[in-house]
């Protein structure tokens, strides 16, 4: 077990290091953007004194590295800062109750995670199931049909898929709402019902990858001697695939699943906008539009963290799926 533990610690260390580097890249590249943020906050008619005061207030006069480490230090202690839109609101309207980013982002983050989770719960079993069946009946009409279906869904733009689903399921069928406007106090059932249409759209987008990898990974193993052995023991084809091939095909499948789950969190922007879903994607789009630097930075960092965390989990799981590492000699 020692070696597994060592690998785990190594991977987590690497993950943290990657996140650190990503944070420098995000902070640095956002700072390279042209334009004066103080000017942007106050608008065209602001006096020079007011602009200077704002610059002083949000720390833009300090050197880059000082600002970076101030920001990082605050992040580590859980203080995500205050968005410019809040500062602007305070500057123009008065009042001293500034809402921190944490409070703004928390419900959005929850919504995005909810959508990603719901999609994963539909898409992962669905694509594994399709992949196993396609491997089992490879070359058959079912196999080809599944391949064509998933390929054409991944080749279509997300908004197109979204509108097709809205057309059939919301407009003509009237089964599902076309606007996924979830509210914080919704009961779970209603929340799922409201979120179902964006979740289905995302399912169509991510299924192809996972299903094809499952199929390929299993077929890759079907020529191996232990599969032949299982067949020579008179085991049924379904059991051969599920019991003998699938456990050995897990490592590549897990990795593709993780990549797709990460996509569910970071790539939802279009789908959230189409369905007016109050998630991080929508927030991110708004923040970019209003040049709200602190908010953009935090959103980017969350996306990066999601990627790193999911890939880390995938690494660890695929290591654990190897019996040689789980049960050393």
């Amino acid at each position: 077990m020692n070696s597994v533990l060592r690998i785990l610690v190594q991977r987590i260390g690497l993950g943290i290091l990657t996140l650190f580097i990503v944070s420098i890249v995000i902070f640095g590249s956002v700072n390279l953007l042209p334009g004066d943020f103080a000017q942007a906050i106050l608008g065209q008619g602001a006096t020079d004194e007011a602009v200077a005061a704002i610059r002083e207030q949000i720390g833009l006069t300090k050197p880059f590295w000082v600002r970076y480490f101030d920001w990082l230090g605050a992040l580590v202690t859980g203080d995500l800062g205050v968005s410019y839109s809040q500062l602007m609101f305070a500057a123009n309207m008065g009042g001293d109750q500034l809402i921190p980013i944490t409070t703004q982002i928390a419900p959005r983050f929850y919504n995005t995670m909810f959508l990603a989770g719901l999609t994963a719960m539909i898409a992962v079993p669905f694509s594994l199931f399709l992949g196993v069946l396609a491997a089992l009946y490879r070359g058959s009409v079912f196999d080809r049909g599944a391949n064509i279906f998933t390929l054409s869904s991944i080749s279509s733009p997300e908004f197109f898929l979204a509108y097709i689903l809205i057309l059939f399921l919301a407009v003509q069928g009237q089964w599902l709402p076309s606007l996924a406007s979830v509210k914080p106090d919704m009961p779970l059932g209603e929340r799922v019902y409201t979120t179902l249409l964006p979740a289905l759209t995302l399912t169509l987008v991510v299924t192809a990858h996972m299903m094809r990898m499952t199929r390929a990974a299993i077929i890759n193993l079907l020529a191996s001697p232990y599969i032949e052995m299982a067949r020579l023991k008179g085991i049924s084809p379904m059991r051969v695939v599920v019991k003998h091939a699938l456990p050995n095909a897990l490592a590549p499948i897990i990795n593709v699943i993780a990549l797709n789950l990460a996509y569910l969190i970071t790539g939802v922007v279009v789908v959230e906008v189409v369905f007016a879903y109050p998630g991080i994607g929508n927030l991110f789009v708004d923040a970019v539009r209003t040049r709200d630097i602190p908010m953009v930075q935090i959103c980017c960092l969350i996306f990066a963290a999601a990627y790193i965390l999911l890939n880390l989990t995938a690494d660890v799981l695929s290591i654990l799926s190897n019996p040689r590492l789980r049960h050393p000699k």
């Binding site: 052995m229 067949r231 085991i235």
Partner: protein
């Protein structure tokens, strides 16, 4: 034998394999009759269609193989026309299979016992608990260590010989009427092989199971089979009971198989003491990372001589070769070439020093770049080491091809995939010769080849040695090869040299106990050899058990 009931009857079996979208015949009409409780040996070289026939007699074809004609009748059931479900109900339950490589044929994701109990439980023969109990009983019968516990390990936690016995136990799990053994000991060391042979023979005897025993090793089949059938390129050559077949083979092909083992090059006279060796390994100690693998290894190789390095897998033979070539710099000790020490790391050696020591590998298939033609493969070292180009280079390549007895105009533009195994190995030899070395390391160069082909390679190497005054280090685990080609022998075990000396001395007693065990474990053509050996030594004094006792 004829008074017993017929269990399996194969008539005129024709098999075809698909290559390049067309079906070509691989087996052209084989007949086979097996009675209850009888063991039939099926022998022939690789490509003779033994395994394919073995599988087809279970009604099973690999992908790209089909039954083109004939009948397979198992106890009244027509396996050629039976439905997949009917065949499934027989496989594992009444007909079982033991594969060549147990390490590859056990599923790495499940414990041995889970795989053992799968067939009985799925076929509804036994409950899981009954089957587990039975497994432990079978493990005990097959003399596996810790029978109570060994089943609860994963395949990678069990050694090769033990896995092979566990696989035999698994085949026995439903007490089948017929077991197909497909080269079950080919991948094992000799001392391990003998144990597996003894336990397979025991258990087949005890349960009166009929078996088809497929192998290319005549001495092995002589111990196991009641009758022997010889196959050649998909055709039946002859069939007779074991003793008749061994003492009076009828067909020329069979006789040639029998004769192969007699090739032996006389030992050259010992070199004078004090003569400078071509390669000297001096007190070499080496490790992979923190794992030590070689301990104080020393031996000399003289001009025009062959030193055979013998030992079982893991004894450090190939590691020694890696040290000599500088791929693995030793921790201590050094390598001398004609009296001067070579830099330990190959990256620090000069081109001329690199040129002097070449290698020929076991798997010519993987050692030759499949996308280069023969001319390019051999031309590369000619250009790299000797700086020849254009017409000179081509002339040299043609000379080399002539030396390895392949017609240059026919072969120079071919790809490796268009050659047979033996021809590929010859190309490996030509590539080593291209550098014009003094010294060549041959790493198990004949172990992947059939006996007749292997003999050709050994003769070629011997001829080249005489012509070019080459020195060979011959790594092998096969004592017949040692006897055939070597002048001196170095026996290795667990990274140490346990005995070394002239070949003739090594093959005459008294031996070091380990050398003695190695020699005693090599099967002989005598069908009573195994029985006698067991009677003489006892089951605990052969194989791994004996090795364990020694250490």
């Amino acid at each position: 034998m004829t008074d017993r009931d017929v269990l399996l009857e194969v008539r005129g079996l024709k098999l075809e394999g698909r290559s390049d979208e067309t079906w070509t015949p691989i087996v052209n009409g084989v007949d086979l009759t097996l009675h209850k409780g009888e063991v039939l040996g099926l022998i022939g070289e690789s490509g003779a269609g033994k395994s394919t026939v073995g599988l087809a007699s279970m009604g099973f074809c690999r992908d790209g193989v089909r039954i083109a004609g004939g009948s397979v009748n198992f106890d009244g059931i027509d396996l050629v026309n039976a439905s997949a479900a009917t065949k499934r109900s027989l496989l594992g339950k009444r007909i079982a299979y033991v594969a060549q490589s147990a390490a590859a044929s056990f599923n790495p994701a499940h414990k041995l016992i889970d795989q053992h109990t799968e067939a009985p439980v799925q076929h509804g023969v036994k409950s899981r608990a009954e089957s587990e109990k039975d497994a432990i009983e079978l493990y005990r019968k097959l003399r596996l260590p810790n029978p109570e516990e060994i089943g609860f390990r994963y395949p990678h936690q069990v050694s090769g010989g033990q896995l092979q016995r566990a696989m035999t136990a698994m085949a026995m799990s439903c007490r089948p009427d017929l077991i197909i053994f497909d080269e079950p000991t080919t991948a094992l060391d000799v001392t391990t092989q003998i144990e597996v042979l003894a336990s397979i023979r025991d258990i087949v005897d005890q349960f009166d199971t009929a078996a088809i025993y497929i192998t290319h090793d005549l001495a092995v089949v002589a111990q196991m089979a009641d009758r022997i059938k010889v196959l050649l390129k998909g055709d039946e050559v002859e069939e007779a009971d074991t003793r008749t077949m061994l003492s009076a083979p009828k067909e020329d092909y069979t006789k040639s198989l029998w004769a192969v083992r007699s090739f032996q090059r006389p030992q050259k006279p010992a070199v004078q003491t004090g003569a400078t060796s071509v390669i000297a390994v001096k007190n070499v100690t080496a490790a992979y990372g923190k794992t030590p693998v070689l301990f104080d290894v020393s031996f000399d190789i003289h001009e025009g001589r062959t030193v055979a390095v013998v030992g079982e897998s893991g004894s450090g033979k190939s590691t020694t070769a890696r040290c000599i070539t500088g791929l693995l710099p030793p921790r201590e000790g050094h390598i001398e070439f004609e009296g001067t020490a070579l830099p330990l790391d190959y990256r620090k050696r000069s081109k001329d020093q690199l040129r002097q020591a070449q290698m020929i590998y076991q798997m010519a298939d993987t050692a030759l770049n499949p996308r280069k033609t023969i001319g390019e493969l051999i031309g590369r070292p000619v250009e790299f080491y000797l700086g020849l180009r254009g017409r000179e280079k081509r002339k040299r390549v043609e000379e080399l091809l002539e030396q390895i007895e392949l017609e240059p105009s026919q072969y120079i533009n071919r790809l490796p995939s268009e050659l047979s195994g033996g021809q590929k190995q010859r190309i490996g030899i030509a590539r080593a010769l291209a550098a014009e070395p003094r010294f060549i390391i041959c790493d198990e160069v004949t172990s992947a080849l059939d006996q007749l082909v292997a003999e050709g390679i050994l003769k070629l190497l011997a001829k080249l040695q005489d012509e070019l005054r080459l020195s060979y280090m011959f790594i092998t685990h096969d004592l017949a090869t040692v006897r055939a080609i070597s002048d001196e022998v170095v026996v290795m075990k667990d990274g140490r040299v346990v005995e070394q000396g002239q070949k003739d001395d090594m093959f005459t007693p008294p031996h070091h106990p380990y050398t003695d065990l190695l020699l005693a474990s090599v099967p002989e053509m005598d069908p009573d050899w195994l029985t006698n050996l067991l009677a003489q030594r006892g089951a605990d004094n052969i194989g791994d058990a004996a090795v364990d006792k020694m250490t």
